[in-house]
């Protein structure tokens, strides 16, 4: 074969393979970018669309369903993101679906993640529908929170270190708590006691509950006090009467007070009785005289009982008294 023809065949093969490789590449990229698939447009609005760009993936429950078509500012706070979704995936996406901006791994490209709505209305999404959105998690905010968490962890670690040091320090109070078996036994016993007390408290609580139930049902005195309106009225009347009595007593008390004051201050007989010591001595002397006279009178009476003139009278009186006692006994 002529070398020129060989060269031509080789060159033709070379060029053809090159073109085929290029076309395969173009078709593969097109297929991955939804160029050859029937699609429909939907929209979402975000306050922040950092990292989103033309061709970014759109995923529904983690499965790629489309791409981002445009990202444009519509006012000073909102960014509108238009998406192209594969027609074959329309039946899975409902009107109440929620769009969020997430990333493909920690450092990967930004993408739109669509998740099913909570209402599950069952209505399929339509062309140009506006999806609800959740604003993306701001990485700076996350880092800020992580920074604060790290500070907290640092403090906690230092505290743990102190506790650990205390635990390992010999004869320290923490080690005593940690290693003292007697203390542990006591603690155990305390817990057992606490358990028993808790059981009793439970019983008391049940009893109280029963009592409360009875009171609520109107059983018993307390129940009647609380629930019986008639009893309450009576009680009210009683308290009213007690109040009136109290007022009366108060009045009497006031009177007595005035009387006592008068007795103390005036020069009447009562004041003399209470305050005059000479009068008291006279009274005492008089009482002694009366006592003596009474003894003498008793002696005289005894003498009269034995006197023949008056003895019959006393005997009659005795008989009458005996008759009365017998009739009473019968």
């Amino acid at each position: 074969m002529d070398s020129t023809i060989k060269k031509s065949i080789l060159l033709g093969f070379f060029v053809l393979i090159g073109i085929i490789l290029f076309i395969i590449g173009i078709f593969q990229i097109g297929a991955k970018n939804e160029m050859f698939e029937k699609t429909f447009p939907i929209t979402a609005k975000f306050t922040n669309a950092t990292g989103l760009k033309l061709g970014s993936n759109v995923r529904y429950n983690g499965v790629k369903v489309g791409i981002v078509k445009t990202v444009k500012l519509i006012n000073d706070t909102l960014v509108q993101v238009d998406m192209q979704i594969e027609e074959s995936k329309r039946s899975f996406i409902h009107k109440d679906a929620i769009a969020t901006i997430s990333s493909d791994g920690l450092m990967g490209d930004k993408l739109i993640s669509i998740i099913p709505g909570k209402n599950n209305t069952g209505q399929q999404i339509q062309n140009f529908d506006l999806l609800q959105t959740h604003n993306p998690l701001n990485t700076e905010e996350v880092l800020q929170t992580l920074s604060e968490s790290n500070e907290n962890i640092k403090v906690i670690t230092e505290n743990l270190k102190m506790v650990s040091t205390e635990l390992t320090t010999k004869n320290g109070p923490a080690q005593m708590l940690y290693k003292d078996t007697t203390l542990a036994k006591n603690l155990k016993q305390s817990f057992i006691n606490l358990d028993a007390i808790t059981g009793k408290v439970l019983i008391v609580s049940n009893t109280l509950e029963n009592i409360t139930m009875q009171i609520q049902n109107g059983d018993g005195a307390l129940g009647k006090i609380i629930n019986d309106t008639g009893f309450t009225n009576n009680l009210t009347n009683t308290f009213n009467k007690l109040n009136a009595t109290s007022n009366e007593l108060n009045r009497v008390s006031n009177g007595l007070s005035i009387f006592i004051e008068h007795a103390n201050t005036s020069k009447g007989a009562i004041n003399m009785l209470l305050a005059d010591t000479a009068f008291a001595a006279n009274v005492q002397q008089s009482m002694q005289n009366i006592k003596k006279a009474s003894i003498g009178l008793n002696q005289n009476m005894e003498a009269l009982k034995h006197n023949f003139l008056t003895r019959s009278y006393f005997r009659k009186q005795e008989k009458i008294n005996n008759k009365i006692k017998e009739s009473e006994n019968k």
């Binding site: 060269k7 031509s8 080789l10 060159l11 070379f14 060029v15 393979i17 090159g18 073109i19 490789l21 290029f22 590449g25 173009i26 593969q28 990229i29 097109g30 297929a31 991955k32 970018n33 160029m35 033309l54 061709g55 791994g105 920690l106 450092m107 990967g108």
Partner: protein
């Protein structure tokens, strides 16, 4: 006119030569378009030059591309794994290769190999007066020698770039499999998933400009070489340097345009 023919300079000898070279390139490119589109067309010579440029550069370009893809992944992997981004190696390698490494490496290799070859060939023909002989025999040397080579480089560099991209991606796949165990389907799935037309079209388009620049510079310097064999060597040398600088400047401009269009 050529600078310093009468010991007169506009700025200085070096600056004058620089601007004269630019003017020469512009004139040459206009001439290529003007004469190249006029019949008769030298298809056979274009075909021959395509063979010389495409087939004979393929092994060099392919080997370099494979090694670069392999090395790119091997070098990037430790850092990416350290950041927990090992899974993004296919995406990273594909974007790097398709956007930049494939076209640029192909163009630079071709600038070295093809640009110097064209320049030396045309320079030899010039100093041995073969070009004058062609003119005398009625053949348009510009159409036959220059236009065909520029067309061939403009057409072959993009095709070589496609091969370079593909081979480099395979090299990157092998690079990924040295320490990981990645399935080839998964790898190429991730590669095409991370690529967009906005990556492929600008990078593929710029390869035509690379090819045109390499052919144009090589032909211009070779066609205008002077001072015998020394001039041929100098023309080849200047051709390689200018081609490479031209390729890098075009790459920068295209990247800037792509960025301005919002595709980066």
């Amino acid at each position: 006119m050529e600078p310093n023919q009468k010991n007169e300079t506009v700025f200085s000898k070096v600056i004058d030569e620089f601007f004269y070279g630019i003017a020469e390139l512009v004139q040459f490119s206009f001439k290529v378009f003007k004469i190249g589109i006029q019949p008769p067309y030298e298809f056979r010579e274009v075909w021959n030059q395509c063979y010389e440029i495409g087939i004979k550069s393929f092994i060099l370009v392919g080997t370099t591309a494979f090694i670069l893809g392999l090395v790119l992944v091997m070098q990037s992997r430790p850092t990416m794994v350290e950041f927990g981004a090992g899974a993004f190696l296919p995406a990273m390698s594909s974007i790097s290769i398709v956007r930049e490494i494939g076209p640029l490496v192909t163009a630079l290799i071709c600038a070295g190999k093809i640009g110097s070859g064209i320049s030396a060939e045309l320079g030899s023909m010039k100093v041995t007066e073969q070009i004058d002989a062609m003119e005398v025999s009625g053949t348009n040397p510009f159409k036959y020698l220059v236009a065909t080579r520029i067309i061939a480089t403009t057409l072959m560099i993009p095709i070589l770039t496609v091969y370079a991209d593909f081979i480099s991606l395979i090299g990157a796949f092998f690079g990924s499999n040295i320490k990981d165990n990645i399935n080839i389907n998964y790898y190429f799935n991730r590669v095409f998933e991370s690529l967009h037309y906005t990556d492929v079209i600008p990078s593929f388009t710029k390869t035509f400009f690379f090819g045109f620049t390499i052919g144009l510079v090589g032909c211009t310097k070779g066609y205008n070489s002077k001072k015998g064999t020394e001039g041929v060597g100098k023309a080849a040398n200047v051709s390689v340097v200018l081609s490479m600088v031209g390729v890098i400047v075009i790459d920068m401009v295209v990247t800037q345009i792509t960025s301005m269009m919002g595709y980066l």
